[in-house]
């Protein structure tokens, strides 16, 4: 993602201009400070209604030569003009950074997090939205940095880029909509959905029984760590949450589990299609983790040596998520 410019097609002035206007490629780096060159403003629907009313007031006052009618019309126009400046000001100087892209299983919701710095003044009613996401609205007090979470349903596995984010605001009076596009190279990972009711773990390479000791309950509680988006709900330390102590996730020590288990594509029945195979492997990865057993993973074109920790699990699931659909055939 470092050389974004290289990804852009070497095109003419029009394409560059188009890119500048609409930010179609993920060309924004570490931090974007919104400046006048990327802030757009048009009247909102309410703004158009108001402008229409002002036009009628103007015509009436002119026709009947009502100086005071013109006075009222122009005072309201002044208000509309001031609202325009403030709408611009509400976005101008805003600092936006990509913070994190979440992970989830297919069928869940993918959460992207952006950090929004106030840039020296209070911002109200900032709306963030990318294609297919709900609109997230935040206020940022002066001198503060807020995080905004943009959620998107994740129906299928893969790497899902956040895409272009529209930052907009209709404050202060809802008459103008100021907006800006930011496009960070931020992508979340959607793991394959674990197969419900998957068969138990295959026998280990060294003949150990997969269903032997080590179902999750019997593993040793190792400690708490801070909650991260995507942690399974059954691992959340709900008691701590209820006490108001914050969000933590329980971690278990896997030392008490059985021996290593090899999860191999080749061992799966040939009748299954690619996605079901991936789903089953994902379910097994979770089972292995739950049982605190080290596992290795081999899929067409990629493999992972045996391991056990959280990073290992993540690497395995990512491998499953990003396996090209055509790679297995």
């Amino acid at each position: 993602m470092a050389s974004v410019a290289a990804q852009l097609p070497a095109a003419g002035a029009w394409a560059r201009w188009r890119e500048r206007l609409f930010r179609l490629a993920p060309g924004d780096g570490d931090c974007v400070v919104l400046r006048h060159s990327r802030i757009y403003i048009l009247p909102s629907r309410r703004g158009w209604t108001m402008i229409g009313a002002l036009a009628i007031m103007l015509l009436t006052s002119l026709n009947y030569a009502l100086s005071l009618g013109l006075g009222v019309t122009f005072l309201l126009s002044g208000l509309v003009a001031a609202a325009l400046l403030h709408a611009f000001r509400n976005l101008s100087g805003l600092e936006i950074r990509p913070l994190a892209a979440g992970e989830t299983f297919a069928g869940g919701r993918l959460v992207y997090t952006l950090a929004v710095g106030s840039g020296g003044r209070t911002r109200d009613g900032l709306e963030f939205r990318a294609a297919g996401t709900a609109t997230a609205v935040i206020d940022v007090p002066d001198g503060d940095t807020a995080s905004v979470q943009i959620e998107r349903p994740a129906p299928s596995r893969g790497r899902v880029a956040l895409g272009r984010v529209t930052v907009s605001s209709t404050q202060p009076l809802g008459l103008w909509r100021a907006w800006s596009y930011v496009h960070f190279p931020l992508a979340g990972i959607v793991f394959p959905e674990p197969e419900p009711g998957a068969p138990p773990l295959p026998r280990g390479a060294h003949g150990q029984d997969a269903s032997a000791p080590g179902q999750g309950d019997e593993t040793e509680f190792a400690g708490l760590r801070e909650f991260q988006a995507g942690d399974p709900p059954q691992r959340i330390a709900w008691k701590a949450v209820a006490r108001g102590a914050g969000w933590y996730t329980k971690e278990f020590d896997g030392s008490g589990g059985g021996g290593p288990v090899a999860l191999e594509w080749a061992l799966l029945p040939r009748t299954l299609d690619v996605e079901t195979k991936l789903s089953r492997l994902a379910a097994w990865v979770l089972m292995a983790e739950h049982a605190a057993r080290p596992f290795s993973l081999a899929v067409p074109g990629a493999s992972l040596p045996a391991g056990q920790d959280r990073e290992h699990r993540r690497a395995a699931l990512t491998m499953l998520a990003t396996l090209p659909a055509g790679a297995a055939t």
């Binding site: 209604t49 100086s67 001031a82 611009f88 950074r97 609205v137 202060p172 809802g174 008459l175």
Partner: protein
């Protein structure tokens, strides 16, 4: 980077957002604020009904609060019923539905009905737009300073309503009404330069774009007929007829005859205007002429007033003296009346030239015969007196003099409350009661003249006027209404004022001096001095200035202002460009002021980004996840010789940025100074790079 996670509000995009109770209250307040200035100009029951409907919604809101979860709904067929009933009632009240005033009345009710059923924020937007229009409509009926003040609360609440509509219910800014009003007031103040610019530069149009219907209103003024009692009734009114600013000296009271409708038809009781008036020729303006500006109150009639003999045609929309006057607005009739082609329905300001002459030649030779007609029957004693005067006098001039002498000799009494006679009113006045007001004297005199064979007619208008020393202008009130006579002697029309013969003080001093204390002379005509009079004159001066500079800021005055500033030579597009440039300047100044504030606030961030840039150029860019302390630690590992500077930069910046607020004076400045000095110690990017290698 420290990230303070805040609860993000999420908005459902499917259904249009519903109005909250607070937003509904704002809209209701806005509607009432806009209704109140309009209410006095509507039939009382329409005014009351509209306000009551808004009140009903407030009652429903209260009920909703008592029973949450089951919002009160008014079935939509009731609303349709309301609307139809309102339309019928307006039709019944005004007699017609398509017209300015009934339309306003209907809009007034419709807004209240719409409010009753408003559920979504979008309904709120529509209501704001409708109410904005309702802010203009009271000015149809008057543009006094009071009317202007009455519009201000509604404007402010309208802005605050927009503010409330723009904020979701859970916004921390949504709560306080005081804060909303203050925010809106600030926006209005910031918009005033734009408003002023538009007021001065937006071109006014010369005439109405569409027909301005004449709406019969409660306007007072001279009419096209004069029956016994009509002028004395008018004289009971304090209302201002017009105000006059003179270019030079003000003529003495005896010469202030403001010529109005000329009445030449008599039916035995009332005088009326000739149905069609031929165009006449204007007097030549020359030595002894007067130039002045008349600000005429609307009176719903076409006549315009000029002193004595008009020497120019009023042109209220024209460009001024150096432009040829448009001939279209008004014309002069053969009997020297100034007539507009459309009734005067709004305040009219025009420059006027006059010659102070009480005699002028007849319009065409032999026209006198038209001014001898009398009804064949009635008033026999007056007829006989006329014939008698002719027999005694001889020449026309002698007859006129003899008639005036007769008036002087007989015991006539000048009063506002003459007895009314049903039969032969002229006979009754001249021979029985001998008590009358100017219309009796003028009318009877003209009848006498015609009976004696001298062509004569009645001229109505105003006589005198009060000088306002505060504003330096003349106030002419309805109580100055007057009627006098004109006789045609030797081819010349001459003014003869029999009232002046009977009650000279009326002409010299004004109505109150000619009347006994028991007469119902209006208060302001009666008052001579004292604080009430002084304050009344001061108030009138304010009113006149208002009419001149604000209400009367029409095309003519706009052009004059442009001339004075020197932008009148610009073409339309140049003016538009000028307006655009001024608008951009306004935006620049407004945003610039904001920018300046930011710069002082954020010195430390500018310094920090300067340091980061230098390190990045030296080959050590800050990672996105890296806070100042971690970054400084990494830089110190790379360039241990500057470790102290790095940590000073990072610590002071982090303290300024993320530490508790510095309360002691100078503490903040000291930290900023530390930051700046530490950055000064760092070598340039190139030197850093070579230091590392």
């Amino acid at each position: 980077m420290t990230t303070v996670a805040r609860g993000a509000r999420r908005r459902a995009t499917a259904a249009p957002p519903a109005l909250t109770a607070a937003q509904t209250r704002w809209i209701g307040a806005m509607i009432v604020c806009a209704q109140l200035p309009q209410a006095p100009h509507l039939p009382w029951w329409i005014a009351g009904f509209g306000i009551a409907l808004v009140g009903l919604r407030f009652v429903l809101l209260r009920r909703d609060r008592a029973r949450p979860g089951a919002p009160a709904r008014i079935p939509s067929w009731t609303l349709v019923l309301f609307a139809v009933a309102a339309a019928l009632a307006v039709r019944a009240s005004y007699g017609y539905l398509v017209g300015r005033d009934p339309s306003v009345a209907f809009l007034y009710i419709l807004i209240a009905i719409k409010f009753l059923e408003a559920r979504t924020v979008r309904d709120g937007s529509v209501l704001v737009a409708l109410v904005s229009f309702l802010l203009v409509t009271p000015f149809f009926h008057g543009q006094s300073p009071v009317a202007a003040l009455a519009a201000l609360p509604a404007l402010l609440v309208l802005g605050a309503t927009l503010d409330a509509l723009a904020r979701p219910a859970d916004s921390p800014f949504a709560a306080a009404p005081r804060a909303a009003i203050l925010r809106t007031a600030r926006l209005f103040v910031q918009g005033i330069p734009i408003a002023a610019l538009m007021f001065v530069l937006f071109p006014r149009i010369a005439g109405p774009l569409w027909g301005v219907p004449f709406e019969a209103g409660a306007t007072t003024g001279l009419s096209d007929s004069m029956a016994p009692g009509s002028i004395s009734e008018l004289s009971l009114s304090d209302a201002v007829a017009f105000r006059v600013d003179f270019d030079g000296a003000v003529p003495p009271p005896a010469q202030r005859y403001w010529r109005g409708p000329v009445l030449s038809r008599f039916d035995g009781r009332a005088w009326t205007m000739a149905p069609r008036t031929a165009p006449g020729t204007l007097a030549r303006f020359g030595a002894g002429g007067l130039a002045y500006t008349v600000t005429l109150e609307p009176h719903g009639k076409p006549w315009l007033f000029a002193l004595e003999l008009p020497a120019s045609l009023p042109d209220p929309s024209g460009g001024g003296e150096d432009e040829p006057p448009a001939r279209g607005y008004a014309f002069v009739s053969s009997d020297q009346q100034l007539l507009a082609r459309v009734p005067v329905t709004q305040v009219l300001r025009y420059r006027q030239l006059s010659m102070l002459r009480d005699a002028f030649p007849e319009a065409e030779r032999g026209e006198g015969a038209d001014f001898l007609r009398l009804p064949s029957r009635g008033n026999p004693r007056t007829m006989e007196l006329g014939r008698d005067l002719r027999a005694r006098g001889g020449s026309d001039a002698a007859v006129v003099a003899a008639a005036l002498a007769w008036f002087r000799a007989e015991p006539f009494f000048y009063t506002l409350m003459p007895p009314l006679a049903e039969r032969d009113p002229v006979d009754a006045f001249l021979f029985d009661t001998r008590r009358g007001f100017c219309e009796h004297f003028a009318g009877a005199f003209v009848v006498m003249m015609r009976a004696a064979g001298v062509p004569a007619r009645v001229v109505t208008g105003y006589q005198g006027g009060e000088w306002n020393p505060r504003g330096g202008y003349l106030i002419v009130r309805q109580s100055d209404a007057h009627a006098w006579a004109e006789v045609l002697v030797d081819g010349t029309w001459r003014r003869v004022d029999p009232t002046a013969t009977v009650a000279p003080s009326r002409i010299e001093m004004g109505l109150s001096y000619a009347m006994a204390d028991t007469e119902p002379v209006p208060l302001f005509a009666r008052l001579d001095s004292g604080w009430l009079k002084t304050s009344q004159l001061a108030l009138d001066a304010l009113n006149h200035a208002w009419r001149t500079h604000v209400v009367g800021f029409n095309r003519e005055r706009q052009r004059k202002l442009w001339r004075d500033v020197g932008i009148d030579r610009f073409a339309g597009w140049q003016l538009a460009a000028l307006a655009a440039a001024l608008g951009v300047a306004w935006a620049g100044i407004a945003l610039g002021l904001i920018g300046l504030r930011r710069a002082t606030l954020d010195r430390e961030r500018a310094l920090w980004s300067q340091a980061c840039t230098r390190l990045a150029q030296a080959g050590l860019p800050r990672q996105p996840h890296e806070g100042p302390i971690a970054y400084a630690a990494r830089a110190s590992r790379r360039w241990p010789q500057f470790a102290i500077a790095f940590s000073a930069i990072a610590e002071s910046y982090a303290t300024l940025r993320y530490g508790p607020p510095r309360t002691r004076p100078g503490e903040r400045d000291a930290l900023v100074a530390t930051l700046a000095r530490a950055i000064d110690v760092l070598p340039a990017a190139g030197d850093l790079r070579s230091a590392a290698s």
